[in-house]
Amino acid sequence: MVVTAPSAGAAGAPAPAAPAVRRPRGRTGLLAAGLLVAGAALVLAAGLSIAVGARGVPLAAVWTALVAPDGSFEATVVASRVPRTLLGLLVGAALAVSGALIQGLTRNPLGDPGLLGVNAGAAASIVVLTAVAGAGVGRTPWAAVPGALLAAVVVQLVGSGGARAGRGGAGPVRLVLAGAAVSAVLGAVIQAVSLADPTVFDAYRAWVLGSLAGRDPAVVGQVLPFVAAGLVLALALARPLDALALGDEAATALGLRPGTTRVLGLVAATLLVAGAVAAAGPIGFVGLAVPHVVRGFTGPDHRWLLPYCALLGPVLVLAADVVGRVVARPGELVVGAVTAFVGAPFLVAAVRRGRVAA
């Protein structure tokens, strides 16, 4: 949908001749400044995620330890926590942006890789491949790709009853139901495989529930290319996605190929989800909640929506991870459980808003 400017900068706007589609300067400036604020929030969340733990480190000490590691105990603690923070950063950005992508591609306000079974598919794929081919093959993001794609396709098929998508496709609520059904089956598969081989899966028990804890620092390096490629592709698709929101015919009239955009969007979303799930297991509701909040102040323009999601997704995941470390002492609450608490109400809100037809 074309963003017609709300009153932000219109009051004293000296350029009445500007085309209606153009956004007044004031709003653009505001949104750009907002990006800086989001970035600052991200830095703060990252700092907290390093500072808070079984042994607290003051934020100032975190900074010193990062810029000038002096081999002290605090510096060691900080160094040991950095991979987890980086992981949260990558996972949050990947999940939030993939949610925004899915919502834009399918014009489904309930689009979320967790709700639509993609997370479960990626996780099942990793678990099965780990059991069959060993951790060397199974613990990479590549292993998540086939399951993620397959689950996405099956959910679409079940949601549309095997009918051709021409009839308007499947409704959002129906897709969520299909996602729940497929996730239930995949969850059983994950449990069955991992319970059958406890030695292999002992270390990954927390991962199966969605967690940043206890991951090998090397995972960051494995996941980074996937998330980076997915993010770049997603940002490049911002304009085509805006056009797609007008409907396929209008998009075609604007010189866009909707099919190509969808395929590229699906590739980007798959890369992001595969990376996120390989790193942290299936974490739900980030992809739903973050774009919904962001859209509240950016509107539906993907050129703003996607960067904001990339910055605020990690804020949510890192904050959830910190909360999970604090509330369940001496145990630790997996990050997926915290995001479910925070994110599930957004599902209720989205359904209640009434725009979501079954």
Partner: protein, 349 residues
């Protein structure tokens, strides 16, 4: 979007009692399901690490047998079978009640987060604040909170099953997150234990569990059966029910309350076993081909489903006993997908 329609009322007058043929079918289905449950139960008593022949089992049940045989059969296998059968019965009846109230197969306790809510309550009572309330009471409170949240959250009460289900998915996710919180606080590391709380399991059940769920069934089943006929009338429309002197709102409330109680009792003893409450009434309805809620047949089918699923879970992979919820989750999820596809086909036909 039209709701998944339950079988429409027969055209020739809703007042008529079901024909002899249908009633006979219902009885046959109930008896058949109980026979299946019994067969699976006997298999459960004989199979296992200590293999027993049927005559030996009969001997033990008659008061004989060696001490080991008596222990294995009477303290381990028999309560497990009994809990499975009774909890399955409770879940089947609860599912049939709620599906009848919402007039929709998706309005099942397990789809709208009631089972997860009960599990969260049980986890709170058992792990987070041990001793505050007994675990079954905790399960009941959890189930009550979940159904209230779904009712209020959907904004339209039970009138829009689809909305209710999506709100139920949200409530279920939060309840599951709470269970995980409880497990994290309790720092339970044993995977099977975790899986039992999250997926539902019949492992290590004792006679006190049998007593609990048995008492719930004995107390609540007659009430549910008494509600069967009014529910059948309400299913045919509020107006015709009112015309026949049945207050629809009261009947619905009673149905929901009974469903919550039965679900809480079942979840308190075996965890949130997925999808038994969804599938049992649907399977029973297809077999009996009867209109109306069909509570008795649904209950018997639920008992058979849970006992058989537990046997499959225990024996499918030798040496690796799975929690029963893994099997019902896989089967029930597939069944839910089938329901969605079927309904979509019907809608587009």
């Amino acid at each position: 979007m039209s709701a998944l329609a339950t079988r429409p009322a027969p055209a020739d007058g809703p007042v008529r009692r079901p024909g002899h043929a249908t009633r006979r079918r219902s009885v046959a289905v109930g008896v058949g399901a109980l026979l299946v449950a019994t067969a699976a139960g006997l298999a459960a008593l004989t199979l296992g690490r200590l293999g027993l022949a049927l005559p030996e089992v009969a001997q033990v049940l008659g008061g004989g047998g060696t001490r080991i045989q008596r222990f294995v059969v009477l303290s381990d296998r028999l309560p497990r079978v009994a809990v499975g059968a009774l909890a399955g019965l409770a879940l089947g009846v609860a599912g049939a009640l709620l599906q009848s109230v919402t007039r929709n197969p998706l309005g099942s306790p397990d789809v709208i987060g009631l089972g997860s809510g009960a599990a969260a309550g049980a986890a709170a009572a058992g792990l987070v604040w041990p001793g505050a309330v007994p675990v079954p009471v905790g399960a009941l409170i959890g189930a009550g909170i979940a159904i209230t949240a779904v009712f209020l959250g959907s904004g339209r009460g039970f009138a829009s099953p689809f909305r209710m289900v999506v709100v139920g998915i949200a409530v279920g996710a939060m309840a599951l997150a709470f269970v995980e919180t409880a497990l994290a606080r309790a720092t339970r590391e044993d995977a099977l234990e975790v899986a039992a709380w999250i997926y539902g399991s019949l492992a290590a059940r004792g006679w006190d569990d049998v007593l609990l769920v048995g008492a719930a069934v004995v107390l609540l089943l007659p009430a549910a059966l008494a509600l069967s006929r009014p529910l059948g009338l309400v299913e045919m429309g509020d107006e015709s029910a009112t015309a026949l002197g049945v207050p629809p709102a009261h009947v619905r409330t009673a149905g929901v309350v009974l469903a919550v109680l039965l679900t809480a009792a079942a979840v308190a003893v075996c965890g949130p076993v997925a999808f038994v409450a969804l599938t049992a009434p649907q399977v029973a309805r297809r077999l009996t081909r009867a209109a109306g809620p069909g509570l008795a047949a649904a209950g018997c089918t639920g008992a058979a489903l849970l006992v058989v699923a537990d046997q499959v879970a225990q024996r499918a992979v030798p040496g690796t006993p799975y929690p029963v919820g893994v099997v019902t989750g896989a089967l029930g999820g597939a069944y839910l997908a089938y329901l969605l596809v079927r309904e979509w086909r019907r809608a587009s036909a």
